[in-house]
């Protein structure tokens, strides 16, 4: 039942293989050729530069919004801070409720139909309603972000808690472990990898949620900036913002990967070795 994200090992493998085999030059070559063709196409008048910005213009826009006008920082700060706060709050709520529901079979049974309905509804569609209810500003933005990133940690924590390995449970029972011990020493650690997968999805969803909220509110944030630039047909700057989001998305991806290596260390070769030598050091030799 748990939701997993679509970042495939196949793709990552392929990328890493390319890097190892020093094909990077070829990749860059192809990329530059495509970019150049685009630039030429635009200069020759095959692409309307009003709608399809030239690569050179996009690069200039980067310079403008980051350094010359330096107006992007304010919006970046607004978006990123809200995304992080909303993600932390929303996913804490999700994990907490997921654990609660997971441990309580009665609540679980009664909640099931509502979860099915919630799962089928595009959560982001509630955005206008929340803005109307909570007014323009930070509150409704936070509420939207929390709503969109609540679900994945909730459902993953729930399924992590429910799907405890039967054999391990029997082992704990044979050792006369108490309920709290089973929870602390078995169920929670066992559920960590799948909860982390939920957290990863939630952070991505949080960014999308923030963008939608900003599209509607049009006050500040990268989303509203993209909207304004597009309205003014300043497509080059809009694309500079979109590529900024690509970089943020990439940082999120890498950051969550790091966090996963740190928290769910036993899943990774490197993490195991690190913890193994660390524990050896902390254990005072008898």
């Amino acid at each position: 039942m748990a939701v997993q994200d679509a970042t495939s090992e196949v793709l990552v493998d392929t990328l890493e293989r390319s890097l190892r085999n020093r094909r990077i030059a070829k990749h860059v070559g192809i990329f530059l050729t495509l970019t150049l063709l685009w630039e030429l196409g635009s200069r020759m008048g095959w692409l309307d530069p009003l709608f399809y910005p030239r690569p050179s213009n996009i690069i200039r826009s980067f310079w403008l919004i980051y350094f010359q006008n330096a107006n992007v920082w304010f919006h970046l700060y607004s978006t990123i801070s809200l995304v992080i706060i909303g993600w932390v709050l929303g996913s804490m709520l999700g994990i907490g409720l997921g654990a609660l529901v997971g441990f309580n079979t009665v609540i679980r049974r009664f909640l099931k139909p509502y979860v099915i309905v919630l799962e089928a509804t595009p959560r982001i569609a509630v955005a206008p309603l929340l803005i109307a209810a909570l007014g323009f500003g930070v509150n409704s933005k936070l509420a939207i972000i929390m709503l969109v990133c609540f679900f994945a940690p909730f459902i993953n924590t729930l399924s992590g808690v429910i799907n405890v390995n039967e054999e391990r449970l029997e082992l704990f029972r044979s050792m006369r472990a108490s309920k709290t011990q089973i929870l602390r020493k078995l169920v929670l650690p066992d559920a960590i990898p799948v909860i982390m997968a939920g957290e990863r999805l939630a952070l991505t969803a949080a960014l999308s949620g923030a963008l939608v909220a900003e599209f509607i509110q049009r006050d500040k944030g990268i989303g509203s900036l993209i909207l304004v630039y597009t309205r003014n047909l300043n497509m080059a700057s809009a694309f500079a913002c979109i590529f900024t989001l690509t970089i943020i998305g990439f940082l999120i991806f890498k950051g969550m990967e790091k966090l996963d290596h740190y928290i769910a260390y036993w899943k990774y070769e490197g993490g195991r070795e690190r913890m193994s030598s660390k524990r050896k050091r902390t254990m005072v030799e008898p």
Binding site: A6, V10, L15, F51, A133, I226, I242
Partner: protein, 286 residues
């Protein structure tokens, strides 16, 4: 639960279902009742929380007496389905090409990864500028954001084939085309359908968000219009239609999944095996 082998009469089965769902109905009724009373008695006083009865009359108006919802409902449904079909078509074709031809996979991968880490929602204003205010832009956004999960799942399914089975095919002297048709493609189906399910959900999100941004028809438009009129009852009634679309999309895909990837579920396996026995018998008679 009964242990006898006798088929339970229909009336009994209906009663059975009734008894099983009774607690759910009771709980639902209690929640609705408590909500209605607390709004009616002024315990909750807020324009942002409508009474259940108000929501109900909004539902009756939108869905029955006026029937305004249907035009928008089918527009959004169409946008999501067409967008999904385009996204899925491109995704599956690229995935098949990538699985058959290694260099292609290497050169497509970086772009797929970039597309994945960029929040597709961020493209909304640009897509509307490119494709206009009509259904085209909604379909385009739906297609773009449903592309990646389908691409990556299909590719993973096609590439990660059990090595023993592949050896078996090689030992039989199977051609590449045969390996693809008889081994890789069927083995990829379960993951591909998982990708389709995620893709449908995201396609619906894409359609709705694009409608929020700029449109004249569709449930997203209704939703934001009602919300900004502070007509909470009507916007909740509209939200219901999105849930219905979500359920329709999800369960149609589930239906197909069940029939096409029949070998995963016991009941479907049994049905398929009976059907094949029948065709076999029919052929034997001729």
């Amino acid at each position: 639960m009964s242990v006898s082998d006798q088929p339970i009469p229909l009336s009994g089965r209906i009663l059975d279902i009734g008894v099983r769902f009774l607690p759910h109905f009771v709980l639902f009724a209690v929640i609705i009742g408590a909500w209605e009373i607390s709004v009616a008695t002024g315990l909750i006083t807020s324009i942002i929380i409508p009474r259940p009865s108000a929501i109900w009359s909004a539902i009756v108006e939108l869905y029955i007496t006026e029937g305004t919802i249907y035009r928008h409902f089918f527009i959004t449904l169409t946008e999501a389905v067409v967008g999904f079909a385009i996204g899925a078509g491109v995704a599956v074709s690229l995935a098949i090409a990538s699985s058959l031809w290694d260099p292609f996979r290497r050169y497509v991968t970086p772009y797929a990864v970039v597309l994945n880490v960029t929040p597709g929602i961020a493209l909304t204003p640009v897509i509307i500028a490119w494709f206009g205010y009509g259904m085209g832009s909604k379909i385009a956004l739906a297609a773009i954001i449903s592309f990646f999960p389908i691409f990556v799942n299909t590719l993973t399914g096609l590439v990660q084939v059990d090595e023993d089975r592949e050896e078996l095919f090689n030992s039989l002297g199977a051609s590449n085309v045969q390996v693809f048709r008889k081994l890789r493609a069927p083995a990829a189906l379960p993951l591909m359908f998982a990708g389709f399910k995620i893709g449908l959900t995201t396609a619906l999100i894409g359609a709705v968000v694009a409608e929020f941004a700029q449109a004249t028809d569709g449930v997203g438009v209704l939703m934001s219009r009602f919300s900004f009129q502070l007509n909470m009852a009507a916007s909740l009634a509209t939200l219901l239609s999105m849930t219905v679309i979500g359920l329709i999309l999800f369960y149609s895909m589930e239906f197909l999944d069940d029939r096409i990837v029949f070998w995963r579920r016991e009941s479907r396996r049994a049905a398929a095996s009976r059907a094949r026995a029948r065709t076999w018998a029919a052929q034997a008679k001729k």
